[in-house]
């Protein structure tokens, strides 16, 4: 498989395995939430690591709180939660529907149907059902005075699926009244204008609707009244505390008196503001039994509180920002940002303001307001999880009512719609579809039945019986739903069971889309950077063969050279892989493996003195030549990548040297011995030193590997060194023909060395290599262990430095110039 080649560590599931993984995940998720559907659904208890509990039936909460790991399940869960975000309900139904679609498809696929037909069928069926829904829905007239009963029915249907019946019925009124309270004709409903406040106090049935506002803080002065009737409400955002002026001017004072004066001067400003408020209070409250309440978004400090308290004003500080908006809607008036704007018209009105204290928590109730456009649902409950449960339910209830008001339609519930839609699909739609897509329509129709089926199952009824009796009724032309008490068919209209139109629409819309996408998945690929991190658990032979490459994203192969060394203990091999953008045709130039050829040159150190001296001498010459060259030539390479790119060209250029080598290798044993070398040097007309033992020294100098004699690769090194030392004449004498090409290659090679040798002393160190490897490549940083390994392979004599000959030797090997006896050599070393 192509991906395997591209990234051997990628985990791949193909065709049927991928499909079945998706189907199983969908079914698994369905199983989890299945039991929660409907009024008779059961409750899940979620236990956290710290022992915290959550009891819920709400699919949305459940999916959000659970940690899901399976990728398919995450996708489905996300769709379902998105459903909740847009329409406020239907999470469980979405999961069930997707699960059932997958289940039905599985049956067809196992019989050999291609998923594509099913998907086509789904598409047709979806459109048909949406059309059918338009006809099937029950319009609701929402005029200036909406039909409270319909709204109540729909709120009840939603709430009963979340809470027990008694509480749900109580909340129904609260929820409907809350929405009607904040509704303004011809404006979208802003549910934020319903404040949801909770108190850990009394019982869940004490939850109530406050027409007005409940604030979660109280006045901070002991002399302020705890209860006041007939109140003017001043909503303001004015700082009533002493603050340092914001301008940074230096004040200097030399004694305590001056300081006092300065503070007093700054203080006076604040007092001025307080006085303006008191003036207004005195004006409006003159002579009556009226009271005055200030609710401020900013702080009020104790001196200001004191002044206000003395004037008989109740003052609250640091009100929630959103409450400022709500207060104005609830009490009237307007929010004031500066005391200069104070007039009587800014004031709101509330019949009753009082404080309720629970432990250290204080609540201030602002009630009996005229024409409230904002209200508070005050949730009470004995413990946190009850409160959380009610809170979730109230939220959904509000959404359901809001949806109805906006849709101006509802849909018959209790499974009636699903059964009717299925009948419609089978009877009317299926005939219009040609070919195998019919199977898709059929599967879709079957899948719709999951809702009534699950309802029946959760009520402890027999699924088959229920479905059969429902379908019979529908065949007779009656639109019926399921009575979950008795299992008999009922008319949902009579019972007042309605679902939201927009919720149903959303389910029908989003379910098949996600199911289709999952069905059309033919491969699941897990690949990425993290695959590289976990390499201990790994790779069998084939992975090693092709080298491990980093594939940054799924199926994205960067079109450049990747340099990789697999860090394996036994075999350390260097691969240069050239992966081009058409991933499958990547070329791989892996020619030399096994460290043995190069890793065992340690014996070099135990050589006679003279030889070391000669070596040093030659090294010196080479270094001097290099320095000279570095001065005279411009820097040719800018990045490692540009060097690695050239490798194939080096190979081409050096191919012909093989003939030259064969020419010198007179006895054709693949090596040039000392005698042969002497003749060779004679032909090249070069003299390295005045000594007679010239050729012998050079021979030893260039014999880089453990095998005696100069093999082809070493010969190339030799030539290159000669070229460096004696100029282009050498190559011309080697071969007139190839001279230009060889010169080019040698120039490049030497430049490459100069690129790495940053300080120009003829030797490269590890840090140079690391630095160079990482500096110019913007895309990727080469891991340290790779550069380390790379350096180790170049450093043949293990002295921590790489000189030109070692570098050349390694480059030539990587470029893939083979020696003939490669195979035998490996056997020998093994």
């Amino acid at each position: 498989m192509s991906l395997r080649v591209l990234n051997p560590n990628a985990e791949v599931l193909n065709k049927s395995a991928a499909l079945h993984m998706n189907i199983n995940a969908a079914k698994g998720l369905q199983d989890v939430v299945k039991t929660n559907l409907g009024p008779k659904g059961t409750i899940k208890m979620l236990v956290g690591g710290a022992g915290d509990l959550k009891l819920t039936k709400d699919g949305n909460t459940l999916l959000k709180e659970m940690q899901i790991q399976n990728p398919t399940a995450i996708m489905i869960a996300r769709t379902a939660v998105a459903q909740d975000d847009t329409s406020g309900d239907g999470t469980t139904s979405t999961v069930l529907f997707i699960g059932e679609l997958m289940k039905q498809s599985e049956r067809c696929i196992d019989e050999g149907t291609h998923p594509r037909f099913l998907v086509d069928g789904f598409d047709v069926a979806k459109r048909a059902v949406l059309e059918f829904l338009e006809k099937f829905k029950t319009p609701v007239v929402i005029g200036d005075e909406p039909d409270r009963d319909t709204l109540k029915m729909i709120a009840r249907t939603t709430l009963r699926t979340k809470l027990y019946e008694g509480l749900a019925d109580q909340l129904t009124d609260i929820v409907v009244n809350a929405v009607l309270c904040i509704r303004k004709p011809d404006e979208p409903i802003d549910l934020f204008m319903v404040e949801i406040m909770h108190m850990r106090h009394k019982f869940d049935v004490d939850t109530c609707l406050v027409e007005g506002l409940v604030l979660d803080h109280g006045s901070r002065h002991p002399d302020m009244k705890r209860r006041a009737e007939n109140c003017y409400i001043l909503t303001c955002n004015v700082s009533l505390e002493y603050e340092k002026s914001e301008i940074n001017a230096g004040f200097f004072y030399s004694n305590a008196e001056q300081r006092e004066k300065m503070v007093a001067a700054e203080r006076r400003q604040v007092d001025e503001r307080v006085k303006r408020i008191i003036e207004l209070k005195n004006k409006v409250c003159a002579g009556g039994d009226k009271n005055f309440v200030v609710i401020n978004q900013k702080g009020i400090d104790p001196p200001s509180l004191d002044l206000l308290a003395r004037a008989g004003i109740i003052a609250l500080r640091r009100a929630k920002r959103r409450n400022m908006e709500r207060l104005v809607l609830a009490c009237g008036g307007e929010a004031v940002n500066s005391v200069d704007d104070l007039t009587e018209d800014c004031l709101g009105w509330a019949g009753l303001v009082y404080e309720h204290v629970l432990g250290e928590e204080k609540y201030t109730f602002v009630e009996n307001v005229k024409n409230p456009r904002s209200c508070t649902i005050l949730i009470k409950g004995p413990n946190d999880h009850t409160i959380a449960q009610i809170k979730d339910a109230v939220r959904d209830g509000l959404r359901a009512v809001k949806n109805t008001v906006e849709d101006e339609a509802v849909v018959l519930g209790a499974g009636a719609f699903e059964v009717a839609a299925k009948k419609h699909l089978i009877d009317n739609v299926k005939k219009t579809v040609k070919g195998r897509a019919q199977l898709g329509v059929e599967a879709f129709a079957e899948a719709l039945l999951v809702i009534p089926k699950t309802l029946a199952e959760n009520s402890g009824l027999d699924t088959q019986d229920v479905i059969v009796s429902l379908q019979n009724e529908h065949d007779r032309g009656m639109v019926v739903g399921l009575n979950h008490h008795s299992g008999d068919p009922i008319d949902p209209q009579m019972e007042g069971i309605f679902d939201n139109y927009s919720v149903k629409r959303q389910i029908i819309n989003s379910g098949p889309i996600i199911a289709s996408q999952l069905l059309l998945v033919d491969e699941v690929i897990r690949a990425g950077c993290w695959a590289f991190a976990s390499d201990s658990a790994s790779p069998p032979a084939p992975a090693l063969q092709s080298g491990r490459r980093d594939c940054s994203q799924q199926k994205q192969i960067p079109s450049r050279l990747l340099l990789y060394v697999s860090a394996n203990d036994q075999v350390s091999s260097l691969h240069l892989a050239h992966a081009n953008s058409r991933g499958d045709t990547h070329r791989q130039l892996q020619l030399q493996r096994s460290t043995t050829a190069m890793g065992t040159v340690a014996s070099m150190c135990r050589e006679p003195m003279r030889r070391r001296r000669v070596e040093k001498d030659l090294d010196g010459k080479v270094a001097a030549a290099l320095r000279e060259r570095a001065r005279s030539r411009q820097r040719a390479f800018r990045s490692v990548n540009s060097i690695t790119m050239r490798l194939p060209r080096f190979k081409d250029g050096l191919r012909d040297v093989k003939d030259v080598f064969d020419g010198f290798d007179e006895d054709s044993d693949g090596t040039i011995d000392a005698e042969e070398l002497r003749r060779c040097l004679g032909k090249l007309e070069v003299r390295v030193s005045s000594s007679e033992q010239d050729a012998g020294d050079l021979h030893r100098y260039c014999d880089l590997d453990r095998r005696s004699g100069i093999q082809f690769q070493e010969f190339v090194v030799l030539l290159c060194l000669m070229y460096l030392l004696f100029g282009p004449d050498v190559t011309r004498r080697v071969s007139e023909f190839e001279s230009a090409k060889l010169n080019y290659v040698f120039d490049e090679l030497i430049d490459a060395f100069l690129f790495f040798d940053t300080d120009g002393d003829g030797q490269m160190r590890r840090k140079d290599v690391t630095q160079r490897m990482n500096e110019a490549s913007h895309q990727e940083r080469t891991p340290t262990h790779i550069t380390a390994q790379l350096f180790k392979e170049m450093d043949l004599n293990r002295n921590g430095k790489v000189n030109l000959k070692e570098f050349l030797y390694s480059m030539i090997r990587w470029a893939g110039i083979e020696t003939e006896d490669e195979g035998t050599d490996e056997e020998a070393s093994a």
């Binding site: 659970m66 399976n70 803080h217 432990g359 950077c529």
Partner: protein
């Protein structure tokens, strides 16, 4: 009353905070303990500034920190849905076991009479075990916290699609930040504490800026700046040494430098004074032996430094000319900000230096030591060239005189002043706050002191023969501290690097960096704004 509200956001910030509150708790305990050093009893530190008094539903009085701590939910309600061969496995996360220390705390709560004098010996042995278990087994910041928090204080972020284990860059918190209800809830928690304050002096904000939490914090700071306009915010950006680990590939490296740049820009925008803390390695001093890989260790140092900086914020307010016997030089956050950021360089990013423990004042000649003993906790600073416009605020508390006696306030002032007079380059402005109360070492404090430190935190001249085992809370009762906030050009490399990486990686067209920024939800204009904002410093 000049209240301070503390906010901690993020994993390491909570580690630091936990130590910080342990110090405060220890101070409270020592103030009531007749057998303790009288310095603690007379200490002029006003704890009401950090703490609030309240009562529970049952009417029991409580005294808890004014704190909002934001963390990630430790372990999710882990129900794993796994589909392998068609069967569904549901697994419920195992609750974490409480460690020895927490067990002993809850035991003590149940029978408070058990800790009387006759079994002191036995108790000591137990303490040793406790210290041992903490030394090896701290995984969460709650493991060593001995403070009672208010239920409103602790807030856990949750995000069903957010993986808090890989919460390592600015973009990861998008879901959390965009969800209105969580930010609202966090603001509510803060409002609860602020509303109670009669006269709030400022907000002390500790954030772990090494990961996604800096995005949460930036959002939080923004709403704080909106809601409490004139309340100064003192921001500490802490990060643990591990967050500097080398990155695996280029993409990660780019992500990280962009994260640093973006979070620095965003965080500094909405605060009044910013103090970056957190070196790649904290084992800088021969007097301390810190294991960088342990959060328990590294956070202790940050917390000690933050404690020292906060000392002047709660010294008793006295007249400007007179000094009390125990303290001098009180400041509030507003003044501190004013002193450090509005003068000289107009620079609001300050470096924090700390000497833990502070050297003794005994040797008058050797006072240049003080300068040398200060070690910088802010990363990427450059001390080479002196800045004539530097402004600094120095805090000394619990300084010791010759022979391990406490130095008096005036003594400290005189000697420090004379030492600073002698400096070659003097800062433009320098503020000195002195308190006699040293840093108490609570029981759950890591053993990070070297063996040459005495019981009172004095530096013993000769190496003791008793081995090189690091000393911890059992051997050392308190240490003197010296801390300095410094606003000078030493911080320039820190800012420049961030500015440069934003320029280089984020703004260039079509690079990987700009792609990453787009993933994090920043438009081109926004990035340019950030770049300009950074360039201003």
């Amino acid at each position: 009353m000049r209240e301070v509200v503390t906010v901690q956001v993020g994993g390491f910030a909570n580690f630091v905070g936990s130590h910080f509150w342990n110090f405060q708790d220890e101070l409270l305990g020592l103030a009531d303990d007749p057998s303790a050093d009288p310095m603690f009893r007379n200490a002029a530190l006003d704890m009401d500034i950090l703490y609030r008094a309240g009562e529970t539903h049952q009417g029991v009085a409580t005294y808890c920190p004014r704190l909002v701590s934001v963390g990630s939910r430790g372990v999710n309600h882990a129900v794993t849905v796994f589909a392998g061969s068609g069967n569904v496995t549901k697994s419920v996360a195992k609750p974490h076991e409480r460690n020895l220390f927490l067990q002993s705390l809850s035991e003590e709560e149940q029978n408070p009479s058990s800790s009387n004098d006759q079994n002191t010996a036995k108790k000591n042995v137990e303490d040793k075990d406790l210290v041992e278990s903490l030394e090896n087994g701290v995984k969460f910041w709650t493991d060593y916290s001995k403070v009672q928090y208010h239920p409103q204080s602790l807030y856990e972020l949750y995000g069903s699609w957010t993986d808090f284990d890989r919460f390592d860059h600015y973009g990861t918190a998008r879901e959390v930040v965009s969800e209105w209800s969580q930010m609202e809830e966090m603001n509510e928690r803060l409002r609860f504490f602020v509303e109670e304050c009669d006269h709030i002096q400022g907000i002390q904000f500790i954030v772990d800026d090494s990961g996604g939490f800096s995005s949460v914090a930036a959002q939080y700071l923004e709403s704080i700046a909106d809601d409490y306009t004139n309340t100064p915010v003192l921001l500490y950006c802490v990060r643990n040494p591990l967050s500097y680990g080398s990155s695996r590939n280029q993409r990660e490296a780019i992500t990280r430098s962009l994260h640093d740049a973006v979070s620095f820009s965003k965080l500094s925008y909405y605060c009044n004074l910013m103090v970056p803390i957190g070196l790649p390695s904290l084992s800088y001093s021969p007097l301390l032996s810190v294991k960088d890989e342990k959060h328990f260790h590294s956070s202790a140092i940050c917390a000690a430094a933050i404690h020292s900086v906060s000392v002047p914020l709660r010294l008793q307010q006295v007249g400007p000319a007179s000094d009390s016997a125990h303290s001098s030089g009180n400041l509030d956050i507003g003044e501190l900000v004013h002193v450090l950021s509005d003068q000289g360089r107009q620079n609001m990013i300050t470096a924090l230096d700390v000497a833990m423990p502070a050297p003794s004042l005994a040797d008058r000649k050797d006072l240049s030591n003080i300068e040398r003993s200060l070690h910088c906790l802010t990363p990427e600073t450059n001390d080479e060239d002196e800045d004539p416009y530097a402004v600094e605020s120095l805090v000394v508390h619990g300084a010791l005189d010759a022979g391990g006696k406490r130095a008096s306030i005036s003594q400290v002032k005189d000697s420090i002043c004379s030492a600073f007079e002698g400096r070659a380059t003097k800062p433009k402005f320098s503020n000195l706050s002195v308190s006699s109360c040293p840093l108490p070492i609570p029981l759950p404090f890591p053993s990070i002191f070297s063996s040459s430190i005495g019981q009172q935190g004095e530096i013993l001249s000769s190496q003791h023969p008793e081995g090189t085992r690091p000393k911890g809370s059992l051997d050392i009762v308190s240490v003197p501290m010296l801390a300095r906030l410094r606003s000078s050009n030493a911080i320039v490399p820190f800012i420049e690097r961030r500015s440069a990486s934003l320029q280089r990686l984020g703004m260039a067209r079509g690079t990987l960096g700009s792609q990453i920024l787009r993933d994090w939800g920043f438009g081109k204009e926004e990035v340019e704004d950030m770049g300009e904002h950074l360039a201003k410093y």
